[in-house]
Symmetry: none
Subunit: 232 residues, 2 copies
DNA sequence: GGAATTGTTTACGACTTTTTTACACGGAAG
DNA sequence: CTTCCGTGTAAAAAAGTCGTAAACAATTCC
């Protein structure tokens, strides 16, 4: 936490706990954003440069496990679970879905802060080792900074465009089915709205392909989904 | 844990718990080394090749915190604390000294394994995942990416063509009856429409065989079905 | 409050895939 | 030799999918 302060997102329905966590983390110099529902949380996480997510599993508008899976679709950032569920089964499921730590309520504020510090420390160390720049022909993507360049020029992407791109570059060469893309970007209730994908893949091709009509990276697999091709 | 198995070091004075942890982690494919004292633990860890340390804080020959500090002097590898001490102060101190996770005794074996998997996952994420390739002469199939190559060149297949190919390469050398292929690809009500198969096997031969008229992989078993021959 | 940006929805032509139709080939049985 | 059956190609028609532009609604930003 030397120059840029860490951005933390809290996804939690109880305003009281949100506030409690916010105070705890701000004491360590974090910048905190709050979301009361999973859908809002995904929106914020997709829109901004979030360094760490603190997630309550028991939210009213959906299962927190689904949030982890969706988030993991485009981000490797640490996720700490807060939950009232103490059963081992829940912990295992959350950790295996991609969470990094699991803290059961009630928890001590000091322990929460220490665990957040541990995750942040590990994150910064990992960032130093590996270059976060992904390069594909003319396209360069920095997933950590949420920035995209084409032929050296910065490209502006909207939140949805960015999440779609991040999902695709995170699975190079692989076909991502329409159902999966829709479920992880718009939510499980949108798996039939495939026209959204046509519109937004179109946007990405417009902004990132040399010839949008003859895409070389964002390939269509008719009837199945889309494939991000890394090669030239 | 793709090729090289993870090396785990357990530093713990009670032989019973050591054995318990060893069994738990070996079940996940880890290679486990044990140390009963901090000094022995440092010696083993110092020899290198350790991917993760499971450390009991309450050892007779010294403070576990000192172990963490010493270990952090040369390694960034993950450290998971096991401890009978439940007080928050101890957790905070251990985490701030460089530990990555803190589990209080008694703990569930499932949770321990899940937390170890979470730490390992984060460690290995930098390395790209490799999906298994099926190779048959000139033909290479990547079922995970849904991609097919012939003599190094990508081959485009329609959904039905791909499902037919996937079925055949999944049962190499085996005769698949027309009824079975039709039922699995088109549905149970199509088991008499054997003529679809002629069309689509024809497509596959056209796209993947050297001489479609003299197929070497997609063989006809007249009156029965088709066989996928793996050999050259 | 107004302007700019972003997300959603609609419409339609172009394109891909599937289904259907037609016909030629070749071996086995009569 | 002819007939029949299962088979292999080709190409049509039909069905389904995709890409784009543009209008509208919601949201954000000044």
């Amino acid at each position: 936490m030397s120059e840029t302060r860490s951005q933390v997102l809290i996804v939690e329905d109880e305003a009281q706990i949100r506030h409690f966590v916010r105070l705890a983390l701000e004491a360590d110099g974090c910048v905190v954003q709050e979301a009361g529902r999973l859908a809002d949380g995904l929106l914020i996480a997709g829109a901004g440069a979030i360094d760490l997510v603190v997630l309550d599993l028991g939210l009213p508008d959906g299962d927190g496990i689904d949030f982890i899976r969706a988030y993991r679709g485009w981000s490797d950032g640490p996720v700490l679970i807060l939950s009232a569920r103490t059963e081992e089964r829940h912990k295992i499921d959350a950790l295996d879905a991609g969470a990094d730590d699991y803290l059961t309520k009630p928890f001590g504020v000091g322990e929460l802060r220490a665990r957040v510090r541990a995750l942040m420390r590990r994150r910064q160390r990992a960032g130093g080792e590996v270059s976060p720049l992904l390069e594909f022909g003319d396209i360069v993507v920095d997933l950590a900074k949420r920035q995209v360049w084409r032929k050296g020029e910065a490209v502006h992407l909207t939140p949805i465009e960015y999440r779609l791109l991040a999902m695709m570059v995170s699975h190079p060469g692989q076909v991502l089915t329409q159902r999966r893309l829709l479920a992880e970007i718009w939510g499980a209730s949108y798996i039939e709205s495939s026209h959204y994908l046509r519109v937004y893949v179109g946007h990405l091709r417009q902004k990132l392909e040399d010839d949008p009509a003859q895409p070389r990276h964002f390939l269509t697999e008719t009837g199945v989904g889309y494939r991000f091709q890394t090669g030239t």
